[in-house]
Symmetry: C2
Subunit: 301 residues, 2 copies
């Protein structure tokens, strides 16, 4: 029987493999690690990199537990409970504006009521890509990979999780998607008609898809020249990324609300961002073309 420790251990190993893969990809950058403990229970390993390809990146592993904050418990409709949560969470901000920002998260969550009679568990996660400049062919490749991962487990999952990503990675106040999306899934458990280990296998495949999927994007993006104009646009797009994370991202909220380590949670923030009042790119420009594609429901395949 698979224990929560088995799941946490697997995620910890995933963090190791991803960090090795990213160091190889970057060429010069090396991860620095901070171990931390959560006062109310558990802890984690935060790893950050500043390299040649990755300007600022974080790969975080954590396994935390303790009493469930009342507000969250009520939101989930649960009795007074303890929770256990483990996962790996990544955001990478590349130096080149021609390389997309990428985010990945895989996580496992379980709760146990204080009375001991009620318990719940689920897996969640997602990968999504945020190009500063959308290249349709690259977006298609990215979605093809995610579709292959999903199809291996269930034919209905890619379209379902693709739509979920469109809805989740969405800046309501801008009426813009964060990027070209990807997949997002949450509260996946036996109600899917799959066993726990089958769902875990899916989460594993999502995690292992991360390095190859982003490597392909990096290799394509690094071929493209850029100058001050593209860097300026990158800085403006990064402020949208900051807005999403601070205004809408539920993981950020959950982390800050449950007394998580602020620096680990906000590793996702860009190294630098600019805000210009009411800025709108010139009609017909590459920047305007990208903006026009930041819409829900685009069929990238």
């Amino acid at each position: 029987m698979m224990s929560k420790e088995d799941i946490a251990n697997w995620f910890r190993g995933l963090q190791d493999r991803i960090c090795r893969g990213l160091e190889e990809l970057d060429g010069t950058g090396q991860f620095h690690e901070d171990l931390w403990q959560r006062p109310a229970g558990g802890g984690g390993r935060s790893r950050v990199i500043e390299g040649s390809v990755i300007e600022k990146g974080g790969v975080n592993y954590s396994a935390v537990h303790g009493p469930m904050p009342e507000r969250i418990q009520k939101a989930l409709g649960l009795p007074p409970s303890d929770f256990f949560a483990t996962g790996v969470s990544i955001v990478l901000h590349p130096k080149s504006p021609m390389v997309p920002i990428i985010h990945m998260n895989v996580r496992y969550f379980e709760t146990q009521s204080r009375s001991g009679t009620e318990s719940t568990w689920w897996f969640g996660g997602g990968i999504d890509l945020t190009p500063h400049y959308i290249v349709v062919e690259d977006a298609r490749r990215f979605h093809q990979r995610l579709k292959a991962v999903c199809d291996k487990h269930h034919p209905a999952w890619y379209p379902r999780f693709k739509k979920w990503a469109d809805d989740y990675f969405f800046l309501k106040h801008r009426n813009e998607t964060r990027g070209v999306g990807g997949i997002f899934f949450d509260r996946m458990n036996e109600s899917e008609g799959k066993s726990k280990s089958e769902i875990f296998d899916f989460a594993k495949d999502v995690g292992e898809a991360f390095v190859p999927a982003w490597s392909e994007q990096v290799n394509a993006g690094l071929q493209r020249p850029f100058g001050p104009r593209e860097l300026e646009w990158q800085a403006l797009r990064r402020s949208r990324y900051a807005e999403f994370n601070l205004l809408w991202d539920k993981g950020t909220r959950f982390g800050l609300d449950t007394g998580g380590r602020t620096e680990s949670i906000l590793m996702s923030m860009p190294p630098m961002a600019k805000w210009r009042y009411n800025y709108s790119p010139e009609a017909g420009s590459q920047e305007a073309e990208t903006l026009a594609m930041l819409r829900k429901g685009v069929e990238w395949l």
Copy 2:
């Protein structure tokens, strides 16, 4: 009898006076105006400036009305109602890191139940100062001015509203105040033992105190030299400002939730901000001294 139109008109005039005062102070910058309408009712005048002293500043006036969003109505414990809200809201990000960021807001809010039987009204507002480098003497001057404004109306208001500002302009996830505080007040109505026009007079005095209070800070700050080190610190402090506005500021949330104009609401964002993972200034440095003073309950007077 003072109507909501009278109040809105006075706020609109305040915006004009403040913009004139800030153009004079800046020397070269001029405000550009956008008029906007809110689809669900009302509209506003957003004014932005990029000048010699002010790198990015916004002075916004609005008067909006319509059905109260259900979520807010429930949070306020009201029956199905319509609302009317008007006010002036300002954030100024100076070029020099030796000049503080300033924020001011004065607002009037009223609700009327659909059945016509229940109505409420209140004034709210605040001014707070966010120096990149705290100069105790300047913080004292700022608080002295606010105390004088409060004392004119009620001897208990300065200590009460000073504490309220400490509690409101607070980054829970950092355990830091946003700056040296100021005053904050909300839901001020007849329950204060004052008439509507008396409370309005107080809001007026807060609004009129803005230009002289910040001018004094600017004149002091512009005497102090700075270089790359101070600019770097300013960029890091600006990211804290962005975090506060997007994570904690209720006005930002209310505006975005009620379908306000995003660019007007996010005028408060800094022109540029930097995030560095787990950055901590050298012990004993000016930067560390400022950080150490970002605490609730400091008696600046």
